[in-house]
Every structure is written in C-alpha cells, then in structure tokens.
Subunit: 511 residues, 2 copies
C-alpha cells in the first residue's frame, strides 16, 4: 500500500520552495575523471581534526548496578580506513546532503521499518535536529498564519510557543487516562462549522501519545486506531511527537512499588518490542502521519538529532526547507551516533532502550512510593487513578494516574475543602481564583524548597481572549502540578514529596 496524495495540506511557503541549482550540480561531480571547480568547500586537509575516540557503554550494561561497566571504544579517523567504520571525519565534517549521512539515514529507515512498522510501503525518513526542529519544520510545512491546531487539552508549552506568534490557535481536546479522547475529537470536528462559523477546519493534529508532557498519559493502540480513523474521515494530518516512546513501563502497583520496574526477567527482544504500544505509524495506511523521533531522551539531548518519518511528498518539501534553514545536523553528532549505533546494531540499541526504560521505571516508582509514604492513598476511578488524602485524614488533596511511560507525574489538586482557596476566591478580582491560588501554592512550595511546575503552564493556547477558566473550558475548583521524576535521586524524591506534603497539609489546614 502506498501513501495517498496529501499535497493539498502543504502551506503556501512550502509549496513555493525551489530546489537549489547548486545542489543539482553536485551529481556531475561524481562523473569519472571530472575535474570539479564547482563546489565551494573548504579542503578537509585544512580541518584541524585528525581523529576522535570515544568510550561508550556496551548496550548490555546493567545501568542499575554500581559495578564497573563494560565499555566499547569507538574510533573515527579523518579518512576512511576501510576498517568497517560507518563514517570518517573528512566526510562527516564536510558540507553534505541535507538528508543526513547515508549510513545513519539507512539505520533510521531500517529501525523505523522494523520497530515502528509504518502501514504503507513508500514511507521515507529524513534527519533533523531533534523534535523541536522537527516540529518547527512541520508547522512551517503545513500551517498558515491563523490556523487552528488540534492538540491535547494540556500540552507542551514550547511546542505552542512556536505557533502562537504565527497567530495560530490550539483546539484543546479533552483527555482521560489514555490521553486525547477520540469521542471528544470527533465532537469537535463534527460541530466545527457550527461552533466556528467561517473558520477553516483544523487539518493538523499534534499529539504526544506516549508519556505525554505534562500529563504522563499513554495512548492505547485502540485509542490510536480510533483517532486515526477520525483523521481519515476529516482529512487531518497527525503529528506523532513521540520522544518518550521507549520509556514505557510496567504498570505501577501501589504498595508493591519496590518489586516492579526492576524485576529482572532475562532480556528478550521480541518481548521488549511487544511490550510497547503500537505507533500511529503502524495504523497509517495513507501516509497521513508525520512521526517525530529523537535521540534526545535515549542517547542524550545534546546530540540534537532526530528524524521525520512521513510520506515522500512531505519529506521532499521538508528537505527543501532543511537546505535553507539548518542544512544538516552537526557532523559530530552524526558521526558519533553513527559509530555508536554501528557498533551496537539495531538489536544492541533495543537492548539499551530496554535497560533505559527499566531505570526510568525505577524512578517512576520512587515518586509513586514517596507519595504513598507521605500521604494516604486509595484507588479511585480509572480516570482519577490514585486518590491522595492528607495522612490520617479523610481530606482529599489530589489524584494522579501512575504514569505508564515518560518522565512526568501529573497531580490534580481538589480545592473544594481548602479554606485558603476559598479565601483567595473571596478576594480574587478579575483573575480566576484557581490561577491566583496555584501561584500562591507554588510559591509556598518554593519557600519549602521543592520545585514543581504549575499546571497552568501547560494550558492549550486558544488565543488572547480565551485564557480564563470560563472562556477556555477548563475545570473550576482544581489546579494541577507536574512532577518530573527523571532527574532526582530516591532520597531527594522522598524529601521533595515530604516537603510537598507539609505544604499541602498546611494549605488545607491539616496541621
């Protein structure tokens, strides 16, 4: 099955791009015996770099053990010595095709084919500088000023900060424990013309399906299938921003935290792969998904390296943009990751990812366990997840769904029994009392030396006139805070949650 023709989604800017005539001429350089006086390239003998060596972990190391770890030694010479290396410095540090270095491009294509399994045949990959760059190029591929963009009700602020100044607006879709709700999406689209007379129906849906930032929600395969079907019906391009895809954990079982996440079943590649939710790509029979993958969360953000997977019409236009916007990702990043991944292979990289997922699961457990220790917990509805009470009290403070992926735990605070909130509410002028209270509580947390991010940062942007709770459709009487568990030691997590408990108990008048 091949991608259908979706070029009517391209915006004016991307339709208008032309290939550079200079790039065209490059292929003549390859003619045997040609003396090329065409390329304005610096001579590689005049690069000051002679060779590079790096020590990296073997993909099999036990990241949880403090024992010394097996290392692999990578060497990158200036010139290719034909010792099987993927790249040499003379090539990777020179100007090169904007598609990315061939070895790495092939690797990402093969990885995508075998791991994400697009449902159509002629998908293509193109390197970019990570998902920030990827999303920026996608918006500049598809969106016109003033467009509406479908997205999760709570979403990643930097993704919005790109298109807000373009005059675009978000269309927030209600979420449940599995992220964006398909029924809510269909409702919005079905009644679009009624609700937004004269406004162009959205044609781009932005989602973080795995370990969503900020809510930590993960979409099931079934939910993805439902959303995909709706997007076919309404002719919508899905942008699958999936940096946390490989950080999918076992479920958290309250009270048994210490056992799970680090249960050492022997590694098995097919079990690992089948433990991962299917991607949107795997449902994509038409080529209407643009998937954004990155090495940022798996091999470090400083690589600034990721890739698009999408239909050939879109990759061709993205390539034209890449040529004039960023040219290529860093040659150092490409060379070092090429050698690392050549040495590891696809199986080795998957092995590494399974180890990584285990480590972040342990950190997820530290966070959940710490909450269990500092508060009283009961199991709520599936959308509530765990409901958290002041220790030894029946005062409901917040609830959270233990994340099945990613780096974030999302707390929904219930303010109805909080006298301080009622006081704030009585005093609040034009401002929503929730907003005022969130700021006050955040400040109290900071004063107690625990830093969370306020939930309001993640509100879908619907334009300047729709920022209040009433106009934006948010819930009254609740506020949210995001806890990131990726960077903290067990001890600090415990300490941070204890401090949070103190502040909450004080705020709710429980001490």
């Amino acid at each position: 099955m091949e991608a259908i023709d979706l070029r009517h989604h391209l915006n004016t800017l991307s339709v208008s791009r032309c290939p550079s005539p200079l790039k065209d001429i490059m292929r003549y350089m390859a003619i045997d015996g040609m003396v090329s006086l065409a390329g304005g390239l610096p001579h590689p003998s005049l690069f000051p770099f002679v060779d590079l060596e790096a020590n990296v972990y073997s993909p099999n190391v036990d990241l949880h053990s403090t024992a010394s770890r097996e290392l692999i030694h990578l060497t990158i010479h200036k010139d290719n010595k034909n010792d099987g290396q993927a790249v040499d410095l003379a090539t990777s540090l020179q100007y090169s095709s904007s598609t990315g270095l061939p070895w790495l491009l092939n690797y990402t294509h093969e990885f995508t084919r075998t791991v994400f399994r697009p449902a159509y045949k002629n998908f293509e990959v193109l390197l970019n500088e990570g998902n920030t760059d990827g999303w920026s190029k996608v918006v500049n591929l598809l969106c016109e000023a003033g467009d509406f963009i479908l997205l999760e009700k709570q979403t990643y602020p930097s993704a919005q900060a790109l298109w807000i100044p373009m005059g675009c607006s978000g269309v927030p879709i209600e979420m449940d424990a599995e992220g964006m709700r398909s029924d809510a999406l269909e409702d919005v689209l079905r009644s679009w013309d009624l609700d937004h007379p004269g406004a162009k129906r959205p044609h781009v849906l932005y989602t973080i399906p795995t370990g969503q930032n900020p809510t930590g929600c993960t979409m099931s395969a079934r939910r993805k299938q439902e959303i995909y079907t709706i997007c076919v019906k309404y002719d919508i391009i899905i942008v699958e921003d999936d940096p946390y895809y490989f950080l999918q954990f076992d479920e958290y079982h309250f009270g048994k935290g210490k056992q799970n996440g680090h249960a050492l079943a022997p590694y098995d590649e097919s079990s690992f792969l089948s433990s991962l939710e299917r991607t949107f790509l795997s449902f994509d029979t038409e080529g209407r998904v643009i998937r954004l993958d990155t090495f940022s969360k798996t091999l470090s953000p400083g690589n600034r390296l990721g890739w698009f997977t999408c239909n050939p019409v879109f990759t061709e236009r993205l390539l034209r943009a890449t040529e004039v916007v960023t040219q290529t990702p860093s040659g150092w990043s490409q060379a070092i990751l090429s050698e690392l991944l050549r040495s590891w292979g696809i199986s080795g990289y998957l092995r590494w990812l399974s180890g990584l997922k285990r480590e972040y699961a342990v950190r997820r457990n530290w966070a959940c366990d710490a909450i269990g220790e500092a508060f009283d917990i009961k199991t709520g509805t599936s959308d509530e997840g765990l409901v958290v009470y002041g220790k030894g009290t029946k005062v409901r403070l917040f609830s959270f769904v233990p994340p099945r992926a990613g780096m974030f735990l999302w707390c929904k605070l219930y303010l109805e029994e909080n006298q301080d909130f009622l006081a704030v509410k009585a005093e609040a002028g034009d401002e929503d009392p929730e907003t005022a209270f969130e700021r006050k509580l955040w400040k109290e947390l900071v004063d107690e030396k625990v830093l969370l991010t306020p939930g309001s940062y993640y509100t879908a942007w619907q334009g300047r006139e729709k920022t209040s709770i009433a106009t934006s459709g948010r819930d009254c009487g609740v506020v949210f805070f995001r806890i990131a568990f990726s960077m903290t030691t067990k001890e600090d997590m415990s300490l941070g949650i204890q401090r949070m408990a103190q502040v909450l108990c004080r705020s709710w008048g429980l001490t």
Copy 2:
C-alpha cells in the same frame, strides 16, 4: 556608545514571541537546597557516553609542509574533573540554555570584541548553527512576506532560496571590483518611491563583504564606511554575512604567482590582524549591523556552529526564536570546539587562521597561474582586472579580478566575437540568447570533464516577472562562470583550466 533603539525593524512574528515559562523556572533550580522536580531532563548517568578524546593540530603547524604535524590531545570527561577543561559531557550533552554553553559564548564575545571591534559598547553574541541558520533566523526576525531586500547584483543562491518562497524580492545593487557600489545603493534608495510607487522601502541589506560568493570581491574599509553612512541615512539594517573574513590574501601579481601567498614572513599577530579589512561592525556606532560568523570555513562545516553579533534587542528576539526553532547547536560541536579553542586560546586560533589564509592564497595562485599558462593575459581596468585572450590571439575571451579573499574566481565571458553565440542568438526564441549560450557552453565544459558553476545561478531574484536580461537589468553579450579553487590540487587545477581553454577556444573558433 550604546546601540540606538531599532526595534521598529522587527517583524510581526518576532515581536509576538513570548519567553517560555519553563525557561523562567530554571533559575529557581539554582537555589541552595532546592529539590527540583521541575525539569524533564534525562539523567546524565543514563547517557551512554563516558568520555571523548580527539587529536587536533597545534595552531602553529605548517599546513603547507608534508612533515608530520604537531598534535594536541583533547579529552572531555563526562563529569568535570576540574582539570581546567572548558566543558564536560554531562553538561554539554544535556538540555541547556539556548544562548550556547557559557565558555564558548564568552570566547566568541571576547573574540568579537578584540578582532572585529564593534563600534558600540553593548553588543551581544548568540550562538547559532552556522550562517545558513543565522540568515534564516535574521530573515524571520526582520522581514515580512513581500519585502524587498538589498543585495549584491550577483549573490549566493541558497541565501535567496530562503526568502523567495516568502514572496520577498531582491533589489540588486551594481558591483565593481570592491563589491556592492555605494553610489548605486544610494541611487536606488533615493529614487525608491519614484521607481516603486506604493512599495515599502527596503530596510534590510544583505552583503557578503569578503571574498563574495560568487564574485570573489572584497569590500574596502572605505566602501564599508560609505555604505554604513547610507544605511544610517535610510534606516537600514546591514546583515554582514562574512564566512570568508579570515581568508584575505595578499594581492595576486600576475607572473609572480609562485612567490606570493606563501612568502614565509614570521608570524606576527598584530600584522595579521592589520592585514584584514575592517568589518562593518567596526563602523557600527548604532547597532544596526547583524554580523554572521561561522566556524564552517575555518574549523570545518560539519560543526554547524556560528554566532550572531548584534544589538541586545535583536539578540533577545533571536534567542526567543532559537528556543522554539533549534534550541541549541549540537552539544558535541560545542564541547569539541570549546576544548579546541580553550587549548588554542584566541592567539592560537588567530595563528591557525593565518596559516589557513596562506593555504587558500596558494590555491588562489594555482588558479590564476593556470589561467596565465593556458591563455594570454593583459592587465585591464581595475573593474576588469586581468583580461584573458585565446593563446597567441587577440581574441578577448573573458576577464577576472584575482580574488583578494575567499574561494572563488569569477569569469566574465565576452561573447561579441563568438560566432557560436551569434548563431545561438539568431535561433533563440523567447529565451535570452545569453542564457541559452551559457547552458550550451556549460554542457561543453562538462563533456570535456571540467565542472564550473554557471553565472546565472547567482542572479539576484527580483520576482518571476523579472528574470530576463532586459527586465532584470543584466548586461547583454556577456555570461559568467564561477571557478571554486578551494578543493582542487595544483595538478587538477591546471588540468581543469586547460580543458576550459580547449572548450573556450573551440567555442570562439580559435582552433
């Protein structure tokens, strides 16, 4: 002296950008004793990289000698071992400020201050991913769709390929041997409203002042002063795209080629610095120059690393764009260049640049010498430079100004005595005969296995309706070809020029 207020030059997009609230929260992380559960960063213990080593040249090596070269060994550990290293991998591979790593940012600031010498006090620098990224961000900072942009009559096509699809148009300014002519610039601006009724006057001037691509022209300090004064008068922002700045050569003396360029005067930093033309920045009392510097030509293109120098209002808006567009240059590039430049120091880097300039001067000489051998040459007017005749004939074929900088030699071919051109002219339909002839001659060159770039690639874009010679204001009876001398050995240059001579002589009916 401080920059004047130039914020009225910002476009709607860049005025509308907001800082991310998440970046704001970062400063609270630094509070002593704070438990941060705020940052969604991957944990550096889970980066697979342990350390990195690189062998690089000492800045003092004689690049022209084949003797073995002194190496410097760089080591970058994961964690900072306080052995004076500029960076560590745990930091450089983590998410970090979009300004760039502090050490490197300070280095480029100090380098800019001491070498380029901005004429105002509060200039700032900001890292980018090289001049392609730099120019893209500048256009998105200043230009609206449909704007007119002042530029050299012949210019770099990829710089145009960025803004052509935005519906912008170039305003080509006539050039002489020193590049853009100041009198021609003033003429265009003075009569703008008359010549372009209703069109907004251009407020951005794009120039490659040193070793211009494609013409190889280099602006004198005097010319820059004249242009700067005009830009003050008409309130224009100058974008100084200067990748070849340090490749400024001694003059080429025809017939003495073998002696110059490699005359080994002992290196002296202040002589080297005073051999360089002053920058636009050095005349910039108002902060209306945005200078683009890159390590691409000096330390290899694959670094994808460069920097803006401009006024603080512009750097702040460029930083907001960087946050959502590219985030930061590659951490590998930043770390490796930081260590290289720390080890070299500013003086070492300048020493390296002086060696580099000498090597490209030698290559320039190879090209000029080869032309002298394959053709007869006479000195023409200063704008013609050297006039080239078919060997043993009085038939003028082309002229070129021996470049004083950069990587390019620009040939202006005179077609009045070319019978083949007259035949093409007789047959040409709607197409300009020059364009048809250029394509035919280029094909003949390719068939003889010498690859040049056709001059028409570099024509300033004035819109779809102004592409013919008559409408675009180009000269009749001439075509141009660009010879790049950076990548070719002496032998190949000689062979390439001989082949070119054969093709030209055949075309002009001289054999």
